[in-house]
Symmetry: C2
Subunit: 302 residues, 2 copies
């Protein structure tokens, strides 16, 4: 399902763990445990400090330490480190720190406060890629950045040096429409630039519609369930594996995926209670019970 | 047009200056000049580190220094300091720094990356106000925060200690509809909590619809033109003064107000070129010329 021009690190399951806090400080031990869990499961790459990893909330020092911990515990598994920030200077600082930590690649979303113009977005990527020595994944996440990258912007940014993958928002759930969308986008990108999908509920469809990678939230906390989808022998089996997780997808839609995986991680003892950065809060008791119930349904051995 | 229960600092023209950079560093001298200009013009209060003042892009150190400079150069004019951040811990740090600098009040927008729930927003204000010793202005700016505060949330937050004003998004331009909106909102708020409007083009209407204050972008750079509106003897005169600035309002809508006032400040020599934090960029030459042309039209003496 992937093309050979795309480097292996940008194919298959890229798992995005939480960056857990304890008493509002980085929980080094829990974070190391989450990374080790992903390595043991055999994910293709680890997406440290993605949206699920709360990069937008952490200080430079916390981010640098998390990047170093992730690389240290990932061993041979490549680590992609999120470097987004509202200010260009802070993005460049995060890029330096990620490279210093040994990141295999970096991931950059165009965070915004004042709405950005297309020219500002392009020049952000231009200036960051001019500064980099590792590959860059373009991270298009309109739900959090409030920036929507057009296909024209994808095409322009994909020509910049170091750009090697684009993490696109959820694709349509209809397989034929999803395939048309991937084919159209592929036509706008150089052959060496992979396409990775976010939006866990449509990942099974997207991977068989031609996406190279799945940048996965659930894979960062329950990697085995995500690998059941990426390792399925065909599209039907992948969709069946995904459909079994429907109770989780419904909770993602209701509460936001990060709150749901935080509740799972806390329930499984992978992190302390209250692992998200305030003002984000853990789920209320009713929702937490629904998550625990759904988890028991989709993964009785968890 | 204002009620006597509302403290004077939260009435009339509150002017929001840029926080100008020079070579991507805080331009202390230009900032002092902007503050002095506002004091000389006679604004009622200064809104340092608002959205126009790029608070969301600056480091803790830059924000602390800007707050101190603003208070130092404001003399007797009260300074309201923006303390918003994505993380609660960073909001509390900014509150400490603002109080240490001598801020008369603080201004808090619920910045978001992951969308916030109503409960998360309420608890953010609850935790910050429990920590404060100065008044707080609730800053509702959905265009940048991507959070919309409901009237129920306004009402709940307005009961918290230290809450003294709410900076609401632009009101409808129709005077009767604007008055109905202010009256309805007033009915939900304690008498000591003022209502201030943002959205410069509708400020003349809003002030005569019952708003106590105008939290003003244009007032931060061209205070005299803003005072022409707030000091107008009646509603018709205020609207006429505002209508004279229509060329600027149109440019605000086209390019974002912060880019337009940055172009004006740079043109007038109040700041260095490139005073905004990247990835924000100054206007392209055509748009910049349009701004200079509009400025000459609305204020030939500028």
């Amino acid at each position: 399902m992937t093309r050979k021009e795309v480097p292996a690190v940008f194919t298959g399951l890229s798992a995005f763990p939480l960056t857990p806090l304890r008493d509002d400080r980085l929980d080094d031990r829990a974070y190391a445990g989450l990374i080790t869990r992903l390595v043991t499961a055999g994910v293709a790459s680890i997406g440290a400090l993605g949206s699920t990893g709360s990069y937008a909330y952490l200080s430079r020092e916390e981010r640098a330490r998390a990047a170093a911990l992730a690389v240290q515990h990932a061993g041979e598994t490549p680590v992609i480190v999120g470097i987004g920030a509202l200010r260009l200077r802070h993005v460049l600082d995060a890029a330096d720190d990620a490279q210093q930590a040994g990141a295999a690649a970096v991931l950059l979303a165009p965070m915004s406060y004042q709405p950005l113009t297309p020219d500002e977005i392009y020049r952000l990527y231009e200036q960051v890629t001019a500064h980099l020595s590792v590959p860059l994944v373009v991270y298009d996440n309109p739900r959090t950045t409030h920036v929507s990258l057009t296909d024209d912007l994808y095409a322009a940014i994909a020509k910049l040096p170091h750009v090697t993958s684009i993490k696109v928002p959820p694709l349509p759930a209809d397989p034929a429409i999803a395939r048309d969308r991937v084919t159209a986008l592929r036509g706008r990108l150089p052959g060496h630039v992979g396409i990775g999908v976010s939006g866990d509920p449509v990942a099974a469809v997207a991977l068989h519609a031609g996406c190279d990678a799945w940048y996965s939230v659930i894979g960062g906390t329950l990697p085995r369930l995500a690998l059941d989808i990426t390792r399925a022998p065909d599209a039907a089996a992948a969709r069946a594996a995904s459909d079994r997780l429907r109770p989780l997808w419904d909770l993602f839609a209701a509460h936001g995926s990060v709150r749901v995986v935080a509740a799972i991680a806390e329930h499984l003892g992978l992190t302390a209670a209250g692992c998200l950065p305030a003002p984000l809060r853990g789920l209320a008791p009713d929702a937490r019970n629904a998550v625990i119930h759904a988890l028991a349904e989709v993964d009785p051995t968890a």
